[in-house]
Symmetry: C2
Subunit: 284 residues, 2 copies
């Protein structure tokens, strides 16, 4: 989804080569990474991933695609020779953090993932930093907030309900809310996320960065929905508490203090109303 | 070296199986990990590693032995079946931290290695934590201080001089000091390190822990040497400033605030005199 939006944003500005597992190109298979690198792109955006739910269900596939795929890509770059040293922008995630999280997460907090997905992202960040330090590439890992409102059908991420409770009512459909309304989380729109990736490509910063975002409770999400689409929309949210999901979400980051990224000019939305407006502008 | 001392410490207390790359058993080769695991040890100490200098010189060997070797070991445990769930004690290192380091490193500072060795250790820590969370094993990574006084001939670690300037003069031989005397670093004796590993095996803590140690300057090392072995010993230290080594050492941790480990009962030396005394007791 982000890859599609990123491609649309860059179309006309740059020559693009898209590699998508949905088209049968699996970066973890021999030769695919070398072929990607053979065109010697100046910038490589690496977004491909097995998402959190699937990486949890299928340990081997998660490590193969998310970790080995990254390593094959970076080794293909390393082996390209002739001084090739691209900018590599890696879409990491706030899933590298796990409980206990402080109220606001600072720039130097140690990753402590509690999913295999988050573990794989954190391992990839370390690899990217090492290969950058050794001079094979200039890598930056941007730790994306939960993307909201995510368009299209739900994927297998456990965070799906944060988008469902906005997207579905806006389309006149019911949505299930499995957690209580005082749950607080960290969001950015797909448009903001694409902005992070583009800004990261244009900067020369190396390392892993917590991205800016909006800290909002589910209640604040719902009130924003009410202001945009009225009580009828809000009435389509069905409260169905799910202890298992509530336990998972309980350990998630609620807020960041992303000073480094803000100083570097990364920008996200400043209200949930704005996040809904962006969704309506971009998707409808 | 630590493996040998650990084995000596445990001899008689437990049934031991030793696997050492020096005996031709390479954990990164197919089948070796499965054979280690086939005896279903209750506790597995994983110390094997390509050291920092060599991991820097030979990128592929470092990742193969230090990262892939760990993964093969953990996958062999995962695949053992029948509810096998050993305690795994992994010797990590303060090399997971890199510049800029704060004056005292707290328990939750994010790793930021600036060597491939430190990167591999940090990646292994994440993998160990994920496999623990998923219930395949109970893993603990102990981040060892720089081991001092290291017996025997120098290995390829850049930190070798911290030991050389004590060990060699004690034996009547010259030693080279490549940095200035105000360099501060974080030490524990081999005996303390073995104590950390044994205590880690006996505890049920899961995760990565900064170990206690002694923060001392080179000048404090030298004064301790003088108290133990006199001016003649100190006179054998030859000051030969090496800009390259000084730059590397400049980014190293100077001090930790290892509250979590102290609360859990891990203990190190409290003076450099004590570290030298331990060396004399254990090695002479």
């Amino acid at each position: 989804m982000l890859g599609r939006k990123l491609a649309a944003r860059l179309a006309g500005e740059a020559e693009l080569t898209l590699v998508d597992v949905a088209d049968g190109a699996d970066i973890s298979e021999p030769g695919v990474a070398a072929e990607v690198v053979s065109a010697r792109p100046d910038v490589i955006f690496h977004l491909a991933a097995v998402v959190s739910g699937e990486a949890e269900d299928d340990l081997e596939k998660g490590y193969r695609v998310n970790l080995d795929g990254m390593r094959l890509l970076l080794d293909a770059i390393r082996n390209a020779g002739d001084g090739y040293r691209p900018r590599v922008v890696f879409a990491s995630s706030i899933a590298v953090f796990g409980p206990p999280v402080p109220e606001a997460i600072g720039d130097d907090l140690a990753p402590a993932p509690r999913t295999s997905y988050g573990t794989q992202k954190a391992m990839c960040e370390l690899l990217l930093a090492d290969y950058s330090r050794r001079g094979f590439l200039n890598g930056i890992a941007v730790r994306l907030p939960t993307i909201c409102v995510r368009p299209g059908p739900p994927n297998r991420a456990a965070s799906g309900f944060f988008s469902n409770i906005i997207r579905e009512p806006l389309a006149g459909r019911e949505a299930v809310l499995p957690v209580s309304e005082d749950v607080r989380h960290w969001f950015a729109s797909p448009r903001a996320a694409v902005g992070f990736l583009v800004h990261a490509a244009e900067s020369d910063v190396v390392g892993s960065l917590n991205m800016p975002g909006l800290s909002a409770t589910v209640a604040e999400q719902i009130e924003a929905l009410r202001r945009v689409a009225g009580d009828e929309a809000v009435a389509l949210i069905r409260h169905e508490p799910d202890e298992a999901i509530a336990r998972i979400v309980d350990g998630w980051p609620r807020r960041f203090d992303p000073r480094r990224a803000l100083e570097l000019g990364f920008r996200a939305e400043s209200s949930f109303d704005e996040i809904i407006r962006v969704y309506l502008e971009d998707e409808q």
